[in-house]
């Protein structure tokens, strides 16, 4: 990890043409190369457990040249975790560096783009901005963890059309092993998916579907199919976000349903209130739960987030309080 820090400091010491602003990264010299990153710390409290965690420490590099653009993101995950359970303290360290994203884009024209590499699967809205600093709550909805592969390693072809609104069609293709599969929620070697979204004024709707071949031996079903319907309304004061979907094998539902609806209100630029209702029925883990979440987020500057939330679960032993501090740089 110290080598990454040294490289980062060295790159920052090079003259940049633009003045640095927090949350916007920095250009390295006059090269088409920008460096940024983020980190997050969080705290979780349940009836029996307190957990302190240095969760994400990530460095990103990106740029574009002519019709090409690229992005690489390297991340340390759960760098330090300290847990106090029924009065017993335990700690874990993880200094393994993961390749979270690594891709090259080619823009044919205003309508077509091809991506090759490892990327966030363009499924729903939440999965496109999955890091703590960019999402509105410390926690992620369960539906974003269990229904579909968060990352795809392969090709992504996009078609965009601009009429009265904006139409986007995505096709995802993976027929190989993952890059850093340990970091994906599913270990897989095949993924074929599609997405269609339409945005007009403040409204966006999106439909995703796909198939993936699961290699995780803990899950008996290896051929899994998913479907996700998403909708978003956003104005300067409000945001309403909802995603609901299902996952099944050839013979049965593995997740009959999983979804959420989240409302966000901006009291001011810095202060946000969030309410989220979630529900899911996961046949693989034999867990079904309903969750009500109240959250408050304070952003003294947009790239700095201090968040707290309380979760009420239908399984009351899962009730929990979460707090986090995250920065984008």
């Amino acid at each position: 990890m110290r080598y990454i820090a040294l490289v980062f400091i060295f790159l920052l010491s090079l003259h940049a043409e633009e003045e640095y602003q927090l949350g916007k990264g920095v250009q390295i010299g006059s090269l088409p190369f920008y460096v940024g990153g983020y980190f997050s710390l969080d705290y979780k409290h349940t009836d029996n457990t307190d957990r302190y965690r240095v969760d994400d420490v990530a460095v990103m590099g990106y740029g574009d040249y002519d019709k090409f653009s690229y992005l690489i993101e390297l991340e340390f995950k759960e760098v330090y975790v300290e847990t106090h359970e029924n009065g017993v303290k335990s700690t874990t360290h993880n200094d393994k560096l993961y390749t979270e994203r690594l891709y090259l884009d080619y823009n044919f024209n205003e309508n077509y783009m091809l991506r090759v590499g490892k990327y966030n699967s363009p499924i729903g809205f939440w999965n496109l901005l999955p890091v703590n600093i960019l999402r509105e709550t410390t926690s992620n909805p369960m539906s974003t963890n269990i229904l579909f592969p968060k990352f795809t390693t392969g090709l992504n072809s996009s078609y965009m059309s601009y009429g009265e609104g904006e139409l986007k069609v995505d096709v995802m293709l993976q027929h190989n092993n993952d890059i850093s599969y340990e970091y994906n929620n599913y270990k897989m070697n095949e993924h074929y998916g599609f997405g269609v979204s339409y945005e007009k004024n403040d409204y966006t709707v999106k439909l995703n579907g796909g198939y993936f071949h699961n290699l995780n031996e803990n899950i008996i079903q290896d051929n899994l199919y998913y479907l996700l319907l998403s909708a978003k309304y956003e104005s300067s004061k409000y945001q309403i976000l909802s995603e609901i979907g299902s996952q099944k094998s050839k013979n049965q539902y593995t997740t009959e349903y999983a979804g959420y609806i989240q409302g966000l209100y901006r009291f001011s630029e810095q202060h946000l209130g969030i309410i989220r209702v979630e529900s899911y029925d996961d046949r693989v883990t034999a867990i079904d739960d309903d969750i009500l979440i109240f959250g408050y987020t304070y952003r003294p500057l947009y790239p700095i987030a201090i968040k707290s939330e309380y979760q009420f679960h239908s399984q009351s032993d899962q009730n929990q309080f979460l707090f986090s501090f995250s920065v984008l740089f």
């Binding site: 653009s69 690229y70 205003e110 965009m160 904006e166």
Partner: protein
């Protein structure tokens, strides 16, 4: 007669008040015609290449009132929403448009750079650039 003069003068005054400034979105002369949805997508960096040219949007300075009008009218986002939008775009490897401090600089840049697109007050317009869209406020 007196009433007619009052009505006439009132009409002139009301017309003068209601007639605001006119603004134009301009591009290099080689740019094809664009819809407002396409202009918005270029300024949000959703469109990177157009007609085989690199699309190069150029803003006025952050505090410029014409920029605020453009962002509200065409981009349909206020300053705060754009700040959060560009933080999210930083995560996916995209940068906000470059900024220039004067309308003259924007016009000169647009005139000389293929694929460039900007906006100015219509009173500063000349025939060195192409007009893509007009609006008044």
């Amino acid at each position: 007669m007196k009433t007619a003069i009052i009505i006439f003068l009132s009409t002139v005054v009301l017309y003068a008040i209601s007639f605001g400034d006119e603004y134009v979105v301009i591009s290099n002369s080689k740019m094809k015609d664009l819809s407002t949805t396409q202009i918005k997508a270029i300024f949000l960096k959703k469109i990177a290449v157009i007609d085989n040219l690199d699309a190069v949007p150029v803003n006025l300075g952050a505090m410029d009132p014409i920029r605020e009008k453009f962002e509200n009218k065409i981009v349909e986002m206020n300053f705060e929403r754009l700040k959060s939008y560009w933080a999210k775009e930083h995560y996916i490897g995209k940068r906000p448009p470059v900024s220039m401090q004067s309308e003259e600089s924007v016009k000169a840049f647009v005139k000389n750079v293929e694929g460039a697109i900007g906006y100015i007050n219509a009173k500063n317009l000349d025939n060195s650039v192409k007009v893509l869209y007009r609006w008044s406020e």
